[in-house]
């Protein structure tokens, strides 16, 4: 039993109405439908509103109007040892995009013992939010399935299934990696390897598929090798083995910058110079790679555009009830740097 502190109440619409000598509803209209007021009244009322610092109580407004102006973002549970370095930038972009439209982002997470779906249900039933923003979408994502059956508004960073709402936005990783392979092929490489992590990120499959499609298209000898997690040691040794073995690749495309760091380390250990003896490219454009020498060729995710598209689609569903007919596939931005060689 915690004693709740009595909360002092602020200035209400009634106070403003009295002070301005008009009715409640006129104040409400001044804020929500200003065109209904005579210019002179609007001016006078607005002055009083400003003077008293009146803001409609969010709860009362929500209760009556049924809209919260809040979007829930179920935060992916991060491995504390290796938190997603793009999370900050993604949230940054999402907060900016939603803020512009007058919406705010609520971070949510299932409570201990609660499933993802139950956590969503709780928010829906308690009418706490207007919609959901989902990321890290699995091929057959239970959250998407659940929201689809509920009919509750959501937008997804990552593709949904064909029979689900196409309110998704994704990055065309397949094409981006095909492009990377093209760059490698153009530089004369024949033995090319792809380094994947099997720790279960859904996007890794796309990147690998892009690689396979790329080598096929360019008639190269492609090999895929992978490490089970994100452990630096494993990445380095797996790459070292690969570089020491037969069919030594002269180019490695890593499924993420994080993995590429291991490639740099392994190459150095083998006395190979990146950009001359070994071409390297990756994915994500982590800021940290600015320190790599030579600088890393990579694919940057257009986080800003992704966030804007996601919020735009979500608000369209929430406010207009219009579900997009097709998903939106955004191109990754190729950032070509010396690690590929001349």
């Amino acid at each position: 039993m915690t004693a709740r502190r009595p909360r002092e109440r602020g200035v209400t619409i009634e106070d403003v109405a009295r002070a301005a000598g008009v009715s409640r509803q006129t104040i409400s209209n001044a804020l929500n439908a200003p065109h209904r007021l005579k210019a002179e009244t609007l001016e006078r009322v607005s002055a009083v509103i400003d003077k008293l610092g009146y803001r409609p109580d969010q709860s009362a407004r929500s209760l009556k109007s049924g809209t919260r102006r809040i979007i829930a973002y179920p935060t992916p549970v991060d491995d504390p040892a290796n938190p997603n370095p793009l999370m900050g930038g993604f949230l940054e972009a999402v907060v900016a995009a939603s803020g512009e439209a007058g919406y705010r982002i609520l971070l949510v997470r299932p409570r201990p013992g609660q499933s993802q779906e139950q956590a969503l249900d709780e928010l829906i039933a308690a009418r706490t939010v207007d919609g959901f923003l989902l990321s890290d979408i699995l091929r057959d994502d239970p959250r998407v399935a659940h929201l689809t059956s509920t009919g509750f508004p959501f937008a997804a960073f990552g593709r949904t299934l064909p029979d689900q709402p196409q309110s998704w936005v994704d990055v065309d990783s397949v094409q981006a990696v095909i492009d990377l392979v093209g760059l490698v092929a153009a530089r004369g490489h024949r033995q090319v390897a792809f380094l994947a992590s099997t720790s279960g990120q859904p996007w890794m499959d796309d990147r690998r598929d892009g690689f396979l499609a790329g080598v096929r298209r360019h008639g190269l000898a492609g090999q895929v090798y992978s490490v089970p997690g994100d452990d630096p040691g494993e990445i380095v040794t797996a790459t070292r083995d690969r570089l020491a073995g037969r069919n030594r690749p002269t180019a490695i495309i890593a499924g993420g910058d994080w993995l590429a760091l291991g490639v740099y380390t392994a190459a150095r250990a083998q006395g190979l110079e990146i950009g001359r003896d070994l071409a390297v490219a990756a994915f994500d454009d982590l800021p940290i790679t600015a320190f790599l020498q030579p600088a890393l060729t990579t694919v940057r995710l257009p986080l800003r555009r992704i966030a804007e598209a996601l919020i735009g689609r979500l608000l369209q569903i929430i406010e207009d009830g219009v579900t997009p007919q097709a998903g939106l596939m955004l191109p990754g931005e190729l950032v070509i740097r010396p690690s590929l060689g001349p």
Copy 2:
């Protein structure tokens, strides 16, 4: 003019009351004060609640009770080129800690043309949140000053002024860097340098002060040099100059892992081997440094404990009206790795 989609209403307390054959208030009590019900009634009512999937409407509850169970976190505006890599981990910890207590985190940001204080005022006046969680506290932070004068609950990651509420939590960077200097001194180093960034992070001063205190205490020759921003190129050249100049330091303590990456690069360019020719230590324990060779000695921020302490203090203010008498200074965790030398 956006057409609002009519929102279908869910199951209300009235529905449950009718179904269970009791009054509204009994349902309310079953959820908020179960001890008031006869065991048998409670059981029966709970069953109906579960069956109908009833959840109290958050807005209605907030309107009447005056409590939102939401904490606002004004997100620091990140440089997109160099987003704070610890942000994800910090939010992770904060969401976990607040979720445990039944609170959620609302990400907020001043709208264009709006000051920080105005953004806070808007949330207070609209009664959207119960309290604020602030980070990146400046020495004389306008947000803290404003909330202090308002008397609105907040907790701060970073120290407040003596005449302000001591609801802060901070990491004892000064002591941590003194410890680092001690480790360096014990290894026989006399010429020690500190690399700072002057891009205005408030904590950098502490780290530098710790360095100065450390060299004084251990009778070392300390030199401080700094770079204006976070640009890798500048960090590397400044360090290279320093390593090539007179009074070449044999140990460098960097104000952050990010800066240490530049030290590694510069040292390599000079043909110096880290751990043998140059001792290096830093601050933050970014996961990425796991790839550095030799591994980097650094100070890890106890994000989990920080978040728990912040949320704990904030909820104490919100729920019990008790403001902490003193701030909480948490020690940084020294992570000693080979970059210091044997």
